[in-house]
């Protein structure tokens, strides 16, 4: 089966390869990326990524650039206000909804698919849960198959605040360790907030060739890739990739603690 890819490009990548559409994080409307792109920098016939939750002022500014976005292949977005704006403005734009941590069940996803062309399944759930969604989704969906795993999105500038507090050199990217578990996280920040990622990238290649997937989303923002064709060929051959993890694919979470044993 041929896999189609929606690729957030690495900073040095320019040329597409077969079966690939680019997804460009739009400058001013995204958080958690090392490289963002202005409208002028975005290739024609691409998807545009808007992953910020937009305040009232920012969503009005988005309205002004909708004619430019309409010329592109589509939008991937996190804030349902974007969907409503596009409906109100009667724009014909292909829409993919990616609520990073909320697209977690087949029922939720089918409810959302009444309004959008596709959705991206959240990377917070298990292989078994994803397979069930792929089986039951009423339209083809997208899967976050490779890239940094986002764990938290804050409107606060957490790095700036920390560095100002302790008079440290200002950096927008930082690796920090949680002190009780020694778990390492990567923080990436811009003026619109901070995103916390796993230090390792998700490798979800077990889903290659699965049915009902419109795009495998590959986030190559942290990579140094010049030839995408070669990288994808190796990716599909499942050659090892450094610093990866299976994320939540084999880690079922709980939410109610078991009762304490009587001592």
């Amino acid at each position: 089966m041929k896999n189609n890819y929606l690729v957030i490009p690495s900073h040095n990548l320019k040329k597409k390869s077969p079966n690939v559409d680019f997804l460009f994080p739009l400058k001013g409307y995204c958080v958690g990326f090392k490289k963002e792109y202005t409208l002028e920098e975005i290739d024609k016939d691409s998807y545009v990524y808007i992953n910020r939750l937009l305040d009232s002022e920012k969503i009005e500014s988005l309205k002004k650039i909708l004619p430019e976005l309409e010329k592109q292949k589509g939008i991937v977005f996190e804030d349902l206000g974007v969907l409503e704006l596009i409906k109100e403005e009667k724009k014909n734009i292909s829409l993919i909804f990616y609520a990073t941590h909320a697209n977690c069940s087949k029922d939720t996803i089918n409810a959302l698919l009444d309004y959008v062309d596709s959705i991206v399944i959240s990377p917070d759930i298990t292989t078994e849960e994803i397979k069930e969604i792929l089986k039951k989704a009423k339209k083809k969906v997208c899967l976050y198959t490779f890239g940094p795993i986002p764990y938290m999105y804050s409107r606060r500038t957490l790095l700036k605040n920390y560095q100002e507090k302790f008079s440290l050199e200002r950096k927008n990217e930082l690796e920090l360790e949680e002190t009780s578990t020694n778990k390492k996280f990567v923080f990436i920040e811009n003026e619109y907030g901070t995103v916390v990622f796993d230090e390792k990238k998700l490798d979800g290649r077990i889903f290659l060739n699965e049915e009902n997937i419109s795009y495998h989303l590959l986030n190559l923002d942290w990579e140094e890739i010049e030839d995408l064709s070669v990288w994808i060929e190796e990716f599909e051959k499942k050659l090892p990739i450094k610093n990866t993890t299976d994320g939540f694919l084999n880690q079922k979470t709980i939410y109610r603690l078991p009762p304490r044993k009587e001592s």
């Binding site: 969503i59 069940s105 409810a111 804050s154 606060r156 605040n161 939540f248 979470t253």
Partner: protein, 395 residues
């Protein structure tokens, strides 16, 4: 205009309403965040709703988890039961639940949870078109956002005014999932943002937010059309709930009567900060929070022991209060009493008697029953606390 209180169990629900809340929000034992709180059985919810409705007040039930495939089982039956019990609304974030209520025509009012983090009018309109009647705004909504959302949608707006803050946008954090395997968006949050981090050899720090406190902006919030003023804290105890709700009730009523002074406002701020044992700020209302709105080095948080006793009875003829002890107190202590619609008053303890009318020097056993001579009239469920601030000093 509604003052909305948290209630983690039936006792807290009753105290919240008694101390002046117009409505409470509660969680059932399923489909709600705070999965490890005591929460309400359906029987408890029914009793809570009856208690509230008899007093002309309301109960909202949170059904605000992010669903996984396995979580749908039993949902429809649960929603129908809540409708039969006549809860006043359910607070929901997952779109499937909102649509299911409409599709099945279950007569339930739906409020959108803060978990959806709505901060612009278009997102609010999306949910309005699904039948949602009220939006609990994201805590990141600014004054401008609130105003614009009200103007464009006309929806009822519920806004947090007090309590703990997430460091992240609500619903946009799974740090707990990866660190402790507990799913934050299904009620298992282990509050990793309050843990400590370090950068190589640099200073250990936390990214904990200070609490929210909107006392200085309540009037503005009323003016821009906020309908419901929400206090956070379903895990909090009755003393915290009584103090916070009593304070905001007094404040809101004084604003409505146009009798609130700046000096009084300062007094109420001090009372609330003391009660939570944390600093608090207005956070996102006027600006993006800076380093000043965060704790970096953790908080040496000691439990608040200001709550000395709960009034169980008052003998008006002999001016004897029967009090259930909650923290150590002794003869000579300066204390104060507070209660709903009551001006707080100070009192120095002269005598203490135990249940057998024997004179004692100290009340040192948890929940022991003691009797105090108190010249001013008290009501059942008034509270006695250690005297820290004297209102006269502020006037």
């Amino acid at each position: 205009m509604e003052l909305l209180a948290p209630a983690g169990d039936l006792e807290k629900l009753k105290f919240a309403l008694h101390y002046g809340a117009d409505a409470v929000y509660i969680g059932g034992q399923n489909f709600s965040l705070r999965a490890n709180a005591k929460n309400f059985s359906l029987k408890d919810i029914e009793e809570g709703v009856s208690f509230a409705h008899e007093r002309g007040k309301k109960v909202y039930v949170t059904v605000n988890i992010i669903l996984h495939n396995e979580d749908v089982e039993g949902l429809e039956e649960y929603l129908r039961k809540l409708s039969e019990i006549k809860v006043d609304a359910v607070i929901v974030s997952d779109i499937y639940i909102i649509k299911k209520i409409q599709e099945l025509q279950i007569p339930l009012e739906v409020h959108l949870s803060t978990q959806a983090s709505v901060i612009n009018p278009y997102a609010a309109n999306f949910y309005k078109n699904l039948g949602v009647t009220r939006i609990v705004l994201g805590r990141e909504a600014s004054k401008i956002d609130i105003k614009k959302i009200k103007e464009k949608t006309g929806l009822e707006l519920e806004v947090f005014i007090h309590g703990a803050m997430c460091t992240s946008y609500s619903g946009r954090c799974v740090l707990s999932n990866v660190t402790t395997n507990r799913d934050a968006n299904r009620g298992g949050c282990a509050q990793i943002c309050r843990w400590t981090f370090k950068e190589k050899e640099n200073q250990i720090f936390s990214m904990t937010s200070k609490d929210l406190n909107m006392i200085p902006h309540i009037k503005e919030m009323i003016d821009i059309g906020v309908n419901s003023f929400k206090v956070e804290g379903r895990m909090r105890g009755i003393y915290y709930i009584a103090t916070v709700i009593n304070t905001y009730r007094t404040l809101i009523d004084k604003i409505k009567e146009n009798t609130l002074t700046d000096k009084e406002t300062k007094y109420y701020l001090d009372i609330l900060n003391r009660c939570a044992n944390r600093e608090s700020t207005p956070q996102f209302f006027e600006k993006i929070p800076t380093k000043k709105e965060q704790y970096f080095l953790g908080r040496m948080e000691v439990s608040n022991q200001d709550f000395l006793g709960l009034v169980l009875d008052y003998d008006e003829k002999n001016k004897i209060a029967t009090i259930e002890q909650r923290n150590y107190f002794k003869i000579g202590d300066e204390v104060e009493f507070f209660g709903p619609k009551k001006e707080t008053f100070s009192y120095k303890i002269h005598t203490i008697e135990n249940e057998n009318n024997e004179k004692i020097e100290v009340a040192n056993h948890p929940n022991m029953i003691v009797k105090l001579f108190v010249p001013e009239k008290l009501e059942k469920y008034d509270m006695m606390r250690i005297k820290i601030f004297d209102k006269q000093d502020y006037l």
